[in-house]
Symmetry: C2
Subunit: 304 residues, 2 copies
């Protein structure tokens, strides 16, 4: 254990959020600098204060933030702005602060604000059984949309339709998935909440209605290839679509507002979630790879 200096606190990392963006952090500068080789890998986690020389933190306080992939984190001057204290909520697992009330819920919330859904519109979300996609679809239902999810297994499709209330789901690994997407979107598509890119996005674009909106949240199909997620823009032009890229960091000043709304929805049973839990810090590389092989349903959590 490090010797704490004045103003520092030591926190035990309890669980970590495993996200596709980590794959991007490893290889290049994007919205954040690439994670430097030889340093602790960047990760969002949930932690508990075990020792403190900072009056803002006392033993037992609970925080989320950029803990990194490690057992303990020292919170001090250089990183304290990435942390915030979170309350204990009865009957709710602490991991909710990494998922529905964390980066995924916030991403879904602000992404759907960009999408500006209207009642009766058709929303398609890709990676629909993932931590973000599953919340996006449920928010779409709250707004009165017809919600169609695209996912990579029949089990995932069953979960999002039967448990989460999506109107339809399409397994893109079926050879006739494009016909199924067409059948599930008889009035075309008004909103594409895009997490995948490449061929899946292309097919969604082919079914977009005039003046539709594409919320560009992720491009996971391109994160592990040389030529990432190429798309023809022809339909964006002729159907006058609006494509908006976004990164949740830009909304930091409104996180409390969103978390309050998400918390209410969660409390009233309008946002259901599921977790895939991997145990042991040494399993972090395997856990990250699961995101790219479809190994997780819902939020992927690494417990330490």
């Amino acid at each position: 254990m490090p010797e704490l200096k004045d103003g520092q606190a030591l926190a035990r990392v309890k669980c970590l959020s495993i996200d596709p963006t980590m794959r991007v952090w490893m290889v290049m500068d994007t919205y954040l600098p690439a994670a430097p080789i030889g340093e602790v890998m960047r990760a969002i986690g949930f932690a508990e204060i075990v020792e403190s020389r900072n009056p803002d933190y006392k033993k037992g306080d609970r925080v989320t933030g950029l803990t990194g992939l490690q057992d303990y984190v020292v919170i001090g001057e250089s990183n304290k702005r990435t942390f915030q204290k979170v309350p204990k909520i009865p009957f709710v697992s602490d991991t909710v602060f990494l998922g529905v009330l964390g980066v995924n819920g916030l991403t879904a919330f602000f992404g759907m604000e960009i999408a500006a859904p209207k009642k009766g519109e058709t929303l398609v979300v890709s990676a629909a059984a993932g931590a973000t996609g599953s919340i996006v679809g449920q928010i779409g239902k709250i707004h009165g949309c017809r919600v169609v999810g695209i996912a990579g297994s029949d089990d995932k499709c069953a979960w999002i339709t039967k448990d989460l209330g999506f109107d339809a789901a399409v397994n893109y690994k079926h050879p006739d998935w494009k016909q199924k997407l067409a059948a599930a979107t008889p009035n075309g598509i008004d909103i594409d909440f895009e997490n995948v890119g490449g061929e899946i996005m292309q097919e969604v674009l082919n079914r977009m209605n005039l003046h539709g909106r594409v919320v560009l949240c992720g491009l996971i199909s391109g994160y592990i290839k040389e030529d990432p997620a190429l798309v023809s823009l022809g339909n964006i032009l002729v159907r006058r679509l609006r494509v908006q890229g976004f990164i949740i960091m830009d909304y930091a000043s409104r996180f409390m507002e969103a978390a309050t709304q998400l918390g209410q929805w969660k409390m009233f049973g309008k946002l259901k979630d599921r977790e895939t839990i991997v145990e042991g810090l040494e399993k972090a590389p395997d856990a990250i790879n699961m995101l790219f092989t479809g190994g997780n349903t819902g939020k992927l959590i690494l417990k330490i």
Copy 2:
């Protein structure tokens, strides 16, 4: 000559606007149905009424609209909404109604409205020596932007910088054009007025600033290939860009407003233009092909 029925007028087509979108009309349904084989090819033209059995038109009236690629057009119930009468403006060629005060000026005007340029921002326009691009850049200068054009010859680059007032021009046929684009945009790019797609667009996206705007007006690099204008969307995501496809038809109710502004700018010498003129209706196929080989500078007009 056809026998006119009551309500019809006959117009002599004097000149035709030759536009990249004609290539698209020939092969597929997009924002308009594909031009049917065996019918007159769709084209925007300028014409003069030579005979009329419609009180709205008298001999000598001047019109622009969807004349088609033909010597004469009958204006009647089925097509009259595509035509409007235009005045004779002293010292100005009639072809201005096909260019600066026609589809190109209107496209540049409303596209730049979408771009919402702010003084001091950097605007890059591709196909910059084309009929639309050359006006886009000049409107950018009116708004106080740093304007950089991408074009396909040194002569075109010289025209847009020396005659039109662009701050810089890059000839994409030079092997080091990417370095030259970087040198011409030292503060990055805030607005991409995109007419080309593919590799040229990709390089512009690589230099876009956070929260930049892409006005998707054309994708000419993809109109004659199998796999049209593929682009990686990674930078749209991580730089939080907004991409807006648009088609000028959507702004029909505001054409008068735009033409009034464009006419004032033209009158005060703020919008200069150049025409490449091809003579003879039988040259229409050659003229259309010129757009794809870089054979025209400024507005391409077919005179009959």
